[in-house]
């Protein structure tokens, strides 16, 4: 792979990664949000595989395929099942409307650039220079988490953050040690399963998954 082609492919994958994250802010149908999350998983897989091919590392390519199977396959599948079980498919009125959300995303992108300056300065390779994109997705995920009112959209917000951290790990260091990577994937999978069980319980006791109903506990 030539240098120019490597950089172009890397930027393309990162662009797709960012775009799917921003589009989550735009769409309100929960099924569309799950689709976007799956597409982001594909972009992340592509990103890791490109890095693996560049470094001639079969191990990295295998890890990338594993990451893809979890984030573009298994997790979206679990979420779609929860969606079918949960009924109603649309986000209720979010706290912040779509136009404002997109503006906020722009501000978050600038914040991410500022925050990642020390990281880029340490080693300005093409891969580390795209770290601000991963951090933007992290902040967007956090924003989705605090402004959306549906259990499933909060879950997607959390998983966007997690995708972003995984992307940061691969872009900066070609991934954390394998034991840790396995542990992280397992924890994320279990967290999603636990949240799914809790969603079922929530449907049973609250009659829905609207988080505005959660206001029994306060001081």
């Amino acid at each position: 792979m030539t240098d120019a082609m490597y950089i172009q492919l890397l930027d393309l994958a990162c662009g797709a990664f960012l775009l799917t994250g921003v589009l989550v802010l735009w769409r309100r149908e929960l099924s569309a949000i799950v689709w976007l999350f799956a597409l982001q998983g594909v972009a992340l897989t592509a990103l890791v595989v490109i890095l693996g091919v560049r470094q001639d590392s079969l191990e990295l390519i295998m890890v990338g395929v594993g990451v893809g199977a979890l984030r573009a396959g298994l997790l979206p599948y679990l979420m779609r099942r929860a969606l079918v079980a949960g009924g109603a498919g649309r986000e209720t009125q979010p706290l912040v409307n779509v136009a404002t959300s997109l503006l906020v995303a722009a501000v978050l992108a600038m914040l991410a650039y500022a925050l990642s300056q020390p990281l880029v300065r340490l080693s300005p390779t093409p891969a580390t220079q795209t770290v601000p994109i991963a951090l933007t997705v992290l902040l967007i995920g956090f924003f989705v988490l605090v402004t959306r009112r549906r259990a499933l959209s909060q879950l997607v917000g959390f998983l966007l953050m997690d995708n972003a951290i995984t992307a940061t790990a691969f872009l900066t260091t070609s991934g954390v040690p394998l034991v840790v990577e396995l542990g992280i994937s397992l924890d994320v999978l279990l967290a999603v399963l636990v949240l799914q069980v809790l969603t079922t319980w929530m449907c049973a006791v609250f009659g829905g998954t609207d988080l505005d109903e959660l206001r029994e506990l306060h001081d």
Binding site: M161, I165, A169, V176, V180, A191, V194, L198, E216, L217
Partner: protein
């Protein structure tokens, strides 16, 4: 043999969890949890005498600090597990639980204890993170055990806030690993990181340390990400609250201690000190403000946990030998005292059917033994002698004045005075105040619950008078936690 001893604290509760999964919870297996906790405590005592050992090719390492944390986990787990059988019998009688939920309780509590043991034995930041996130997942369904609206809400908030907090810590770990790769080390092992800390890029490490302290701080119940704590601790079954408050918070705080060693070597002591002082004073302020008008005695105990975590952060910020010994002693004293209080609060809740403070008036006349235990527990928590929290709080304050952080200690003391006044007022109302009109005397405390409660209080009092054989262990652990002379 030695490496078996390092694996045992994780393996014993995992085996017990497996047995619960197969056998379920019945009159005999109910005591399996207690047995496993006692085994864990015995391993901790053996390890604390054994010095540094590793196992599984260096994945697990036990040093004085890990051994001390295992002692805390073992002691709290023993109290909580010994009180569990009677607690679940009462829950079953009241129709709040069933055989399936009880089996799940047995499996999850043991797996939870194993995850905490793994966290303090892990030799790398990565494995530590995995273990701490596992505790969140394992306790989530325990918090929602009663499946009421409140319990489900608490469990949801708990998983979401803690997972986000701990995700920040993961980003911090990734960034620290990036710094270590460029220093030519490429390791997450903290002994290695601390040794080569001088070569880590300071700009990158500053970002990493900030994320790590905030992230693990969320799990330790420190401000600003403490909002899950009062909900989760007040809704979980009493023995689980005891484990979460007495052991889990300190395990998350232990992660901060390990990070601090690396951070201080890479950035100098000033950076983490400033960070921890801010977090400590913020936590104490939050606790003081929300304790004053508190109407629920379980939430009162939860906010008091935030207060004590704030004190630990202050002690770690001071960072000299006296302060760190006091911090470690405070972890143990708080673990014992708070478990006793949550367990007795659980008995109270079962007897009254309400966790409102105004429902408990005149407790001293209605249930003298339970009220006595509760009152002594509160005295321990407020830092009155002879309990060990008196000695450790005094140690932290003295060390603070020695280290030139007198202003922070003074501010903390003012906030603690407010907290003492608030808790004291609520306690007087609970114990002596006028009860509801139809108040009769309450059912007596079962002996299997009374024994751990009294044993916990006694241990806390003995530690306040003499440390005995614990003293060298505390000194060694404080040195590992990076005590400056």
């Amino acid at each position: 043999m030695d490496s078996l001893l390092v694996i045992a604290p994780v393996a014993v509760p995992v085996a017990a969890a497996g047995l619960y999964a197969v056998l379920g919870w019945n009159r005999i297996t109910a005591w399996l949890g207690t047995l496993s906790a006692a085994g864990l405590l015995a391993c901790a005592i053996a390890l604390s005498a054994a010095g540094r050992h590793d196992a599984l090719g260096g994945l697990l390492v036990s040093d004085a600090l890990s051994a001390f944390m295992l002692l805390v986990i073992g002691a709290v787990a023993l109290l909580a597990m010994a009180a569990s059988p009677a607690y679940l019998v009462a829950e079953l009688a009241a129709g709040h639980t069933g055989p399936r939920a009880m089996r799940r309780y047995g499996v999850l509590t043991q797996a939870f204890i194993a995850a905490m043991a793994l966290a303090v034995l892990a030799s790398s930041l990565g494995l530590l993170w995995v273990a701490i996130e596992a505790t969140t997942i394992l306790t989530a369904l325990l918090v929602g055990h009663r499946r009421t609206r409140q319990a489900t809400e608490a469990a949801w908030k708990y998983v979401v806030i803690c997972s986000v907090g701990i995700a920040l810590a993961l980003l911090g770990i990734v960034i620290a690993y990036y710094a270590s790769t460029h220093a030519g080390v490429a390791s997450l092992d903290w002994a290695v990181l601390a040794e080569h800390a001088g070569r880590l890029d300071p700009g990158v490490m500053r970002v990493a340390v900030m994320l790590l302290v905030l992230g693990f701080g969320a799990k330790a119940g420190l401000a600003p990400m403490h909002a899950w704590l009062p909900d989760a601790h007040s809704q979980a079954p009493a023995p689980v609250s005891a484990l979460m408050s007495g052991a889990l918070l300190s395990v998350a705080f232990y992660a901060i201690l390990r990070v601090k060693v690396i951070a201080d070597a890479a950035l100098g002591a000033g950076f983490t000190r400033a960070l921890l002082v801010i977090v400590a004073l913020a936590s104490l302020t939050v606790a003081a403000l929300l304790l004053i008008g508190q109407r629920d005695y379980k939430r009162l105990l939860a906010y008091s946990s935030i207060e004590h975590m704030g004190l630990l952060a202050l002690g770690a910020a001071i960072g000299n030998s006296l302060a760190l010994v006091a911090v470690l002693l405070h972890i143990l004293g708080h673990g014992l005292g708070k478990s006793v209080l949550f367990l007795s609060a659980g008995q109270l809740h079962q007897a009254l059917g309400s966790s409102r403070i105004h429902a408990t008036g005149g407790l001293l006349a209605r249930a003298p033994l339970l009220a006595g235990v509760f009152a002594l527990g509160l005295l321990a928590l407020l830092g009155l002698p002879p309990f060990s929290l008196f000695a450790s709080e005094l140690g932290i304050a003295r060390a603070g004045f020695d280290a030139g952080l007198g202003w922070a200690v003074a501010a903390a003391l003012v906030l603690m005075l407010l907290i003492v006044a608030a808790i004291g007022r609520h306690a007087l109302r609970m114990l002596l105040g006028a009860g509801p009109d139809e108040a009769g005397s309450l059912s007596v405390l079962p002996r299997t619950v009374a024994t751990p409660l009294i044993a916990g209080l006694a241990a806390c009092a003995v530690l306040g008078i003499t440390l005995g054989p614990l003293h060298p262990l505390l000194q060694a652990a404080a040195t590992i936690a990076g005590a400056t002379p």
